[in-house]
């Protein structure tokens, strides 16, 4: 009969007493079989508040599929915003992606493309987003 699971402690093996405040980008691979969240591409994000954002209010329309978009580092209100190349806010990221603000502080930048856009019945935009 064999055994599985944790055979030993999975612990930090550095020395925090000397290395506090290391900053910068974390390593590429996390424990627990999980990749660094900052380095993950995120597919098919439905943007929020599209009807109330600058782009739709100005153009009464939405950018075509394939248009490039970027994530703003500065919050728009209390939200992480996605803007077009011309700098107009297209919509907000759902709050589950708030950690990307921290990733940007670690020098990650995010951009992507519009993968679907529909002005009716309610303006809605889906994007793919990833680090650049």
């Amino acid at each position: 009969m064999g055994t599985t699971g944790g055979g030993k402690f999975k612990h930090y093996d550095g020395n925090r007493g000397k290395s506090k405040g290391s900053g910068g980008k974390p390593g590429g691979k996390q424990g627990g079989g999980k990749k660094n969240e900052c380095e993950k591409a995120i597919g098919d994000i439905l943007l929020e508040e599209v009807a109330n954002c600058q782009y739709f209010r100005s153009h009464k329309n939405l950018p075509p599929i394939g248009s490039s978009v970027n994530m703003r580092k500065i919050l728009e209100g209390s939200r992480l915003a996605i803007e077009t190349d011309s700098g107009e806010v297209l919509g907000y990221l759902p709050i589950q992606y708030n950690y990307l603000r921290r990733c940007m502080e670690q020098d990650y930048k995010y951009s992507g493309n519009v993968i679907s856009a529909s002005a009716t019945p309610l303006p809605s935009v889906r994007i793919d987003l990833g680090p650049v």
């Binding site: 599985t4 699971g5 944790g6 055979g7 030993k8 402690f9 999975k10 612990h11 930090y12 093996d13 550095g14 020395n15 925090r16 007493g17 000397k18 506090k20 405040g21 290391s22 900053g23 910068g24 980008k25 974390p26 390593g27 691979k29 996390q30 424990g31 627990g32 079989g33 999980k34 660094n36 969240e37 919050l75 209100g77 209390s78 939200r79 759902p94 709050i95 589950q96 992606y97 708030n98 950690y99 603000r101 921290r102 990733c103 502080e105 670690q106």
Partner: protein, 446 residues
């Protein structure tokens, strides 16, 4: 005074089970969660710990690697390995903790160490996690030294009158809605909590409401409570996340307002839940602390008070029949109830139409179901198979602009309308519960 925090309590061994053996992990838990967090934010800290002797070498070595400025053993555990096996680490429902040999668990305190532990260093704050050991002597020693005291009462004590006898006030009592007092219904809302705490010689109460954020109450003045949103996202685990929250809050109060300190704690605790990789967590802490406090406090999230959750009912659309294996429905409903939501199961409540039911009986059942749907703020559908009733209810709810979440445990949803109509389609119960929090919060704001 420079902030120096001493953390007091048991050290445990956390065994986090996973469906995938590669992801099962084992690490030091108990007060070591708070120690990791304090290390992460660069705060000077020490530990006064209680543990079985076999763990001493690992505890001392690990605490030193984290940068502890004092590691002091104040009590020993016998009869139990102090191992906790966690079967459901994400806490989308009850966590299913198994504390091995808990009935044999005995603690013998080293009275001399308890008295002297707080003399070696001039501590600014003490963060204590009671559980299984006698509190009064420790609390008295802390109070005599004038150390600012935080007590996390999630596990013990249920009776807070023990705090009344202290010669100094407790700065903050910290409790979560996962605590026994909430789970057993002894405390059901914030008013009851505050009434309970007022007997306890306490200045402030921090109520952590899991994925619904937290509230910070001032008991001695008329300041309104502070509401802090939770940074909700898919997580790896929830073990020790609340302890991380406590530690960051207590440490950062020296540099920031309560509101800002709590918001930093919320962001950092979310990252603690997202990883077991410590260098990654430490880098995340550094990054959060570089973001200005005003911006951290502007960042939105989920803020949904415990007692406000049952106000908005949730319609469960599913083939909830007595001839169907309804375990996925049961699991979902149990998880929703765990978070104090009000799931409604129409078939269980109104009855199941039989083939021999009359037209009038069927009409009555249908009307009752539709009245219930009208009374609900969210519909959660569970797709066990292509059940026409479930699919039609999804359509009706959408037409009524009642948001729909589709739990698809067997990943069978393929139809275009079925995949595109709902707010979320997922086979992951953790994500379903997050979506419910988000939608009920939105319903609450209307």
């Amino acid at each position: 005074m420079t902030r120096k925090i001493v953390v007091i309590g048991q050290v445990l061994v956390d065994v986090i089970l996973s469906d995938n053996d590669e992801n099962t992990y084992i690490r030091l838990g108990g007060i070591m969660h708070a120690a990791r967090a304090l290390s992460g934010i660069g705060c000077d800290f020490g530990i006064c710990y209680i543990a079985p002797d076999y763990l001493d070498e690992d505890i001392v070595s690990y605490a030193n690697k984290l940068g502890a400025i004092m590691v002091d053993k104040i009590g020993s555990v016998t009869g139990s390995p102090n191992v906790i096996v966690v079967g459901e680490p994400k806490e989308y429902g009850p966590q299913r903790y198994e504390y091995l040999l808990r009935e044999n668990h005995k603690i013998s305190m080293d009275s001399k160490r308890v008295v002297t532990a707080f003399n070696a260093i001039e501590w600014s704050d003490a963060l204590i996690f009671p559980g299984g050991f006698e509190l009064s002597e420790i609390l008295q020693s802390i109070c005599e030294k004038g150390i600012n005291l935080y007590i996390d009462v999630n596990f013990e004590p249920d009776d807070w009158s023990v705090f009344k006898r202290l010669k100094a006030q407790i700065d903050t009592i910290i409790i979560s809605t996962s605590s026994g007092l909430f789970r057993r219904g002894k405390i059901k809302n914030a008013d009851q909590l505050l009434a309970y705490a007022k007997n306890g010689n306490t200045r402030n109460v921090l109520l952590k409401e899991n994925r619904g954020g937290c509230r910070f109450f001032y008991l001695n003045d008329s300041c309104p409570p502070i509401h802090i949103p939770a940074q909700v996202r898919p997580i790896v685990h929830s073990v020790g996340v609340g302890d991380c929250y406590d530690a960051v809050f207590a440490a950062l109060r020296h540099s920031y307002s309560d509101k800002h300190a709590l918001n930093y704690a919320s962001c950092i605790a979310a990252d603690y839940a997202d990883t077991i990789d410590e260098p990654y967590f430490f880098a995340a802490c550094d990054a959060w602390l570089k973001i200005p406090s005003e911006e951290i406090s502007d960042l939105g999230g989920i803020s949904l008070a415990w007692e406000s959750r049952p106000v908005h009912q949730i319609y469960i659309a599913a083939p909830d029949f007595n001839y169907v294996d309804t375990r996925p429905i049961d699991a979902l409903v149990e998880s929703l109830k765990y978070h104090n939501f009000s799931p409604r199961r129409p078939i269980k409540e109104h009855g199941q139409a039989t083939p021999s039911a009359s037209r009038l009986q069927k009409r009555d059942l249908f009307n009752a179901d539709m009245r219930l749907l009208d009374a609900c703020s969210v519909l959660v559908a569970i797709l066990l198979f292509d059940d026409p009733g479930t699919l039609i209810e999804i359509g009706i709810a959408s037409e009524k602009e009642i948001p729909v979440v589709l739990y698809d445990p067997y990943k069978i949803a393929e139809n275009l309308i079925l995949t595109e109509l709902p707010y979320l389609v997922s086979s992951d119960l953790d994500q379903i519960i997050n979506a419910v929090f988000d939608l009920i919060q939105k319903a609450n704001k209307k």
